[in-house]
């Protein structure tokens, strides 16, 4: 974003960056930056909080008064909560299906409600919602020793498939929780630590690493710190 600020400013536009990494913005010295120590992915800080978002914008726009390059700090810090989100997962029947497949099917109604309410989904990069159970079934087999080179994944691209699966779960989960919006990364934590789908994905990721698949194929299947 700081790179674009330099480029746009040179073209005669006045810019303000909402910076999310202070060290980076200090080294790149864009014309005007408001450093906001908020959860990454939430540069305006709080979803569904118009007053807070407005305040961030007002702080940012105030920097247009500066007569020289400036980096300012937004006064409030928001730390991503590490507490898991309290979201139910479907009861499993202990049937013939892998638990992750049964679970994904059980979340379908919530996913469909989310889609109907929002009018758009970010699932569909390489597989759609109908394809999530079949993709999970392959990841389940990978995690149990199936060779990834001989057991093809629908959608092929491991990173994209995993983003689609995670997004399917996250969009469904947001239909199942009450109360204020979950904090930063709480939904991510729920997915990777509380669901069969998340555990299946992580097991498959480990299996690919152990089978010496190319680094990007498995590493970016999940956040780096996991």
């Amino acid at each position: 974003m700081s790179t674009l600020a330099h480029v746009l400013e040179a073209a005669g536009l006045s810019t303000v960056v909402l910076a999310s990494m202070r060290d980076v913005v200090e080294r790149m010295h864009p014309p005007r930056a408001l450093y906001c120590e908020f959860p990454l992915g939430r540069p305006l800080g709080k979803p569904a909080d118009p007053d807070f978002q407005r305040d961030v914008l007002m702080h940012a726009l105030a920097l247009l008064e500066a007569e020289a390059p400036v980096i300012a700090d937004y006064p409030e810090v928001i730390v991503a909560e590490e507490v898991p989100m309290a979201c139910p997962v479907p009861a499993l029947l202990d049937g013939d299906l892998p638990p992750c497949v049964e679970e994904a099917q059980g979340l379908r109604a919530a996913y469909d409600r989310a889609l109907a309410r929002r009018g758009v989904t970010s699932v569909g990069r390489v597989i759609d919602a109908d394809g999530v159970p079949a993709a999970l079934e392959v990841l389940h087999r990978w995690g149990r020793g199936s060779a990834w080179t001989e057991d093809p994944l629908p959608g092929k691209n491991t990173i994209a498939v995993c983003l689609d699966i995670r997004t399917y779960y996250e969009e469904a989960a947001l239909e199942l929780v009450d109360g204020p919006p979950p904090g930063g990364r709480q939904v991510e934590t729920w997915f990777y630590e509380e669901t069969e789908g998340g555990r299946t994905l992580m097991a498959a990721r480990g299996a690919l690493r152990d089978q010496e698949a190319p680094f990007p194929f498995w590493f970016y299947m999940a956040p780096g710190h996991r």
Binding site: S14, L57, P223
Partner: protein
């Protein structure tokens, strides 16, 4: 360690593009008369657009009225749920319209622009190609002020 701290620590140790000087354009009109656009690196796009590829250096155009937007960013390393809850948490288009309605800013630009934050380290394409192309579109729209939002 939290995912956000891990990413901030990682970024702190990475090389960044060097700019010897900082271009600085003083707004030519007061904020209350300025036309304002948003440029985001969240890789937002309309379902009908070409999706972003994993190394996409180009941008997508968002009309001011677009709300049904997909999150096309390829990184798993940030919170994606916030955007699913409220587009404005990374693309504050409704907040900007409210500020225009109140006269705090002059008006909302007709078009806004979206890049993918996962760029090659040199960001050469953005510096030399797609960035200047985006700037030309903004200038053509008579934009005065650009708010840049990352994810």
């Amino acid at each position: 360690m939290s995912g956000d701290q891990a990413m901030r620590d990682l970024a702190a140790g990475m090389p960044v593009p060097e700019f010897e000087t900082t271009a600085f354009t003083t707004p030519s009109v007061p904020l209350g008369e300025a036309r304002v656009a948003i440029v985001t690196s969240a890789a937002l796009h309309r379902p009908s657009d070409d999706p972003f590829t994993a190394t996409d250096t180009s941008f997508r155009t968002l009309a001011a009225g677009d709300r049904d937007l997909m999150l096309g960013h390829w990184s798993p390393n940030f919170d994606r749920a916030g955007l699913a809850i409220d587009l404005n948490v990374a693309y504050p288009i409704d907040r900007l319209q409210e500020l225009a309605d109140e006269g705090v800013v002059g008006e909302v630009a007709p078009r806004h622009f979206s890049f993918a934050g996962n760029q090659p380290d040199t960001v050469a394409e953005i510096r030399l190609d797609s960035g200047p192309a985006c700037a030309a579109e903004l200038v053509a729209d008579g934009v005065d002020v650009v708010l840049l939002t990352p994810v």
